[in-house]
């Protein structure tokens, strides 16, 4: 039965102020049922305050074969990392 159902990617906002984060996927026949399934599978232990589901088919992914061209050039550009700033102690989630 699962095989015939579309796949949905699930995003959970763990608390207000934070962004939705990808947590996994569910099979469901429609968007409403995907939200229910995501609620039952991923938020049973108070993991979230908000859910998004997105049809997996709607996601365009980068090609692993392109990863050298896409990502490796950033490796030696350490000056792009904001490591030279002091982050105040009371700033969380950075």
């Amino acid at each position: 039965m699962t095989a015939g159902l579309p796949l949905w990617e699930v995003f959970v906002r763990s608390k207000n102020g934070l962004s939705h984060r990808h947590v996994g996927s569910v099979h469901a026949a429609g968007a409403r049922m995907a939200v229910q399934a995501a609620r039952d599978v991923y938020t049973r232990r108070m993991e979230g305050v908000s859910l998004w589901v997105v049809p997996s088919a709607a996601i365009t992914a980068s090609d692993p074969a392109d990863s050298a061209a896409l990502f490796e050039p950033a490796e030696d550009k350490v000056y792009r990392h904001p490591t030279f700033y002091v982050v105040p102690d009371n700033i969380k989630h950075i």
Binding site: M1, V26, A29, G30, M33, Q36, A37, V41
Partner: protein, 233 residues
């Protein structure tokens, strides 16, 4: 008075929760497996509160566990609907749909009622039950408005369960019937299903006259406490 009501509410939740636990590991998909187990656990939690309240108001030292594990089936006061076997997924959904729609209405009424202890439990539980009712209604629509096979099974599941619905509205419960009828009929219409024809309802659960299915269910549920009284782990 409070004991009678609390035991009825607790037994409904306990027995249906146990029935749903039988799906664990057997549901059509992982998502449904977790959903049914979640609903079962919600019901088990409600049973714990209601039976603890019943034991306390009875004042003979029986706690929730004693009431759950040490009564015989003629002492149970659950409605007949919840003890019916799971059948296929469609029948389980039919049972859940009819029961949760009623339970939601009942808990809303109890939450505004005069018995504060019962009202507190009902108010907490109604959030859970609202979800159960909408989950089951969505599946009724999905199966009823699905393939020829799913439509047939959903109709059969409703037919099977329908004769046990009158019992929900016996006595003072009759006041909930019009709203329940309206809700059920609206979902069935959306699902492309006919409301089952009126049948002579089977009752007796509230007086302790149960179908043969409850005894088998209790035998499994109570086995450990019967074989090893007061066992803990």
């Amino acid at each position: 008075m409070r004991y009678d009501l609390a035991v009825q509410l607790g037994d409904d939740a306990l027995i249906l929760g146990h029935r749903l636990s039988e799906w664990c590991g057997h549901a059509p998909t992982l998502e449904i497996d977790l959903a049914l187990a979640n609903i079962g656990l919600d019901l088990l939690g409600q049973a714990q509160f209601f039976l603890a309240l019943a034991g306390g108001s009875e004042g003979q030292g029986r706690d929730a566990d004693t009431l759950a594990y040490r009564r015989t089936e003629d002492e149970f006061r659950n409605c007949l609907l919840v003890e019916q076997p799971n059948g296929d997924f469609a029948r389980t959904i039919a049972r859940q749909f009819l029961f949760s729609a009623w339970q939601e209405l009942q808990f809303r009424a109890l939450a505004a009622g005069s018995d504060k202890a019962i009202a507190e439990i009902a108010e907490k539980a109604v959030k859970e039950v609202t979800y159960h009712a909408s989950f089951a209604a969505d599946w009724v629509i999905r199966l009823g408005d699905g393939t020829a096979e799913s439509h047939k099974r959903m109709a059969e599941g409703l037919d099977w369960c329908w004769r046990f619905t009158d019992e929900l509205f016996s006595g003072a419960g009759a006041a909930l019937r019009p709203e329940w009828d309206a809700r059920v009929n609206a979902v069935l219409a959306e699902a492309g299903l006919h409301t089952p024809k009126p049948v002579r309802g089977i009752t007796g659960g509230r007086e302790g006259r149960h179908s043969e299915h409850l005894g088998h269910s209790l035998a499994e549920m109570q086995y450990l406490q019967r074989a090893f009284p007061d066992a803990v782990w």
